[in-house]
Symmetry: C2
Subunit: 401 residues, 2 copies
């Protein structure tokens, strides 16, 4: 059997990530590989840290891209900060909070779970109650933007609460980074991780992380060794720390880092505030179309993420059938529901490079066509018009990449 | 401060990895990103497993590329197979054996260390003695091809010995895969990990692994949870297992996988035996040049890796100065010594796409120039001739990519 080169189709990626990667970033991936200790690469690493400081709005020295996807960024935060016997308040309002609990328990620590219904933000009062009940808690962990539901929690308030109870705060910003306001230093976040394949629109495979000085101090003063050699920041910083002393720890994913660097340069060119505004703007247009069809959102408006739209299936719609038709006839990917929302919602991403007027209208038009053909109970033929009307009435104040 | 796109220099990579990546693989990296659950991507994943079966010479069902560099592949093997309280015989004859010991201890297990001098292969008698002394040993772990020294150990004999003592064998094949003979099924290897940036000449960032049915059974029957959520194969196989049931675990590094797929297609085109022969062939040419200069190798001929040549510095040579000149004047990277060999050796890689006549002659010529200018004690002006004479006398029996 002979296997040939793999030529992927050209999709429009409007699921929960990966999002469409711009040609500039794809082109950067293909630049010649150089060594992970090459002086030119080390210079690029310094730029990478500066660019990540900007994206995270932080001056944390301990800021770097972990050499693996977001799930490994999550694990980096937990295995470095949590020790056996610790107590961690974990807020669960979707898939990724549940994953945090798994991480805590695999560190030999106790997870105190604060649960909220999927689609709701984390309830701050419940977290406060848990902290009062468990005064020996060391860390509060929560998801800023739940990719499984599209709900945004109040990170600033949750971090403040954690600090009032002398806890560190670990924040999942996989889907929020570069999509909605996120201010690591102003909000006092102690440990944060993100992904590259959401609102940064770089290929998956890296996880930007950042740790406050207090968190870094906690890591340096651990009583036990970090259980992961690969993710042990005490070792990783020998490579990602001061440029003058850089030594081999593991071989960095060179070309993937080229891609992330380029995506971050593009973010810097657009401006972080402009990127946030762009996500809110096109979300409003998508919403106009979705609502014109008679469909609704899982998350209420006050806590809805612009970049991840969990839309309730209209009566008569077959989940897999519709997504299959969108992929086959329109080469358009939208996301399925996860966990308790499986089969009940679609997750329409408007992330990074994929967040633009063309995609909003294309997605609405494709949905309209497929749902109409399937005789679902929607207002047919009005969605694209509604979005176009939004755009006509509200000309973009920001550059819409 | 404004940061611009990063345009890396064009190097010739003849260090310990990454090795030169072919234009075909670089081009594959830049293909459009698609979703990690896209039917086309799932088809590609099946091909990937078939291609890895070929490269590893195995039919192990549990064969996949871990979504992170080789160090994470090492960790995947240890955290999945080792449980707290286990005993593991770890053979150390260079940097990477030492790293295995770290992994064992971070799993809460005991490492019984069998040490050999750097540059020597693992001494099988010593391993047997250790196994006799520790009859409760569960696993024997060793490095097939020590990247820090260029020494190759007898993997087949070591695995056989491990099995005689009812142990599993974990094998580090980061530098050996596709460079020297490696036969996972024939030799009965239970768990193996490799990297992409050595003799496969794909960019770093992935780690192909494979587990025998006996090892897979051991993982399924663990008494404790795998301490890493990200690397837990019981979970990862929900994504990399049978195509029909594939579900999200973490977001795969899509574009990096395009690159590895292309590199494996190229390996299949060349033929594994031809690739092994090519590495041996160009190593012999390099050796002719190195010896003509009057320089020698750290490892004796019987155990010397063709793809990783640890060459002793000639009298009068300043390690950093020479490597700096090679990089600056020739855009040529060779590797420094690690650990106890730091400052004493250079590591000249002839890996994958970088293993060809042009590179052998270029490297010898550059070394000759720089060492002569630095007035080191070498036979000047003869190295390239010696290699050319080798090539003239021994025309390649194999395609020399």
């Amino acid at each position: 059997m002979t296997i040939s080169s793999f030529i992927p189709p050209q999709r429009t990626l409007m699921g929960p990530g990966p999002s469409d990667v711009s040609p500039r970033v794809l082109e950067a991936l293909a630049r010649p590989t150089i060594g992970h200790l090459d002086p030119e690469f080390i210079r690029m690493m310094e730029e990478m840290k500066t660019l990540l400081h900007y994206a995270f709005q932080t001056e944390n020295a301990l800021t770097l891209p972990v050499s693996a996807p977001g799930s490994a960024g999550m694990e980096t935060c937990f295995v470095n900060l949590v020790e056996p016997g610790d107590k961690v308040v974990v807020c669960i309002n979707g898939v990724f909070g549940g994953r945090m609990k798994q991480n805590v328990e695999r560190c030999g620590a106790t997870a105190v779970v604060v649960e909220d219904d999927w689609g709701n933000p984390v309830d701050i009062q419940k977290v406060e109650d848990a902290l009062k009940q468990h005064p020996d808690t060391k860390i509060v962990a929560f998801v800023h933007a739940e990719t499984s539901t599209g709900a945004q929690s109040d990170a600033e308030a949750l971090v403040k609460l954690a600090h009032q109870h002398d806890c560190l705060a670990i924040v999942d910003a996989v889907t929020s980074l570069a999509g909605t306001p996120l201010k690591v230093d102003e909000w006092g976040i102690d440990a944060i991780y993100s992904g590259t394949q959401k609102c940064l629109s770089a290929p998956p495979g890296l996880s930007p992380v950042s740790f406050s000085e207090r968190a870094a101090e906690t890591i340096r003063n651990r009583k036990t060794a970090v259980q992961s050699w690969f993710l042990d920041l005490n070792l990783v910083m020998g490579y990602w720390g001061p440029a003058a002393k850089r030594a081999y720890h593991h071989t960095a994913p060179i070309n993937n880092l080229y891609g992330l660097h380029e995506a971050l340069v593009m973010l810097q060119e657009e401006g972080l505030e402009n990127a946030w505004a762009r996500h809110a703007y096109h979300h409003a247009a998508l919403r106009a179309g979705i609502e014109a069809m008679g469909m609704g959102f899982v998350v209420d408006e006050a806590h809805r993420l612009p970049q991840l739209n969990a839309v309730t299936l209209p009566p008569g719609a077959d989940d897999a059938e519709v997504r299959g038709r969108l992929l086959k006839d329109f080469s358009l990917e939208i996301g399925a529901g996860l966990g308790s929302l499986a089969g009940k919602v679609w997750r329409i991403g408007l992330m990074g490079h994929a967040c633009n007027q063309r995609n909003v209208e294309f997605c609405l038009g494709a949905l309209d066509t497929v749902l109409s053909e399937q005789k679902c109970d929607i207002n047919a033929g009005v969605a694209v018009d509604a979005a176009q009307q939004f755009y006509a009435n509200q000309p973009a104040a920001v550059k819409t990449a």
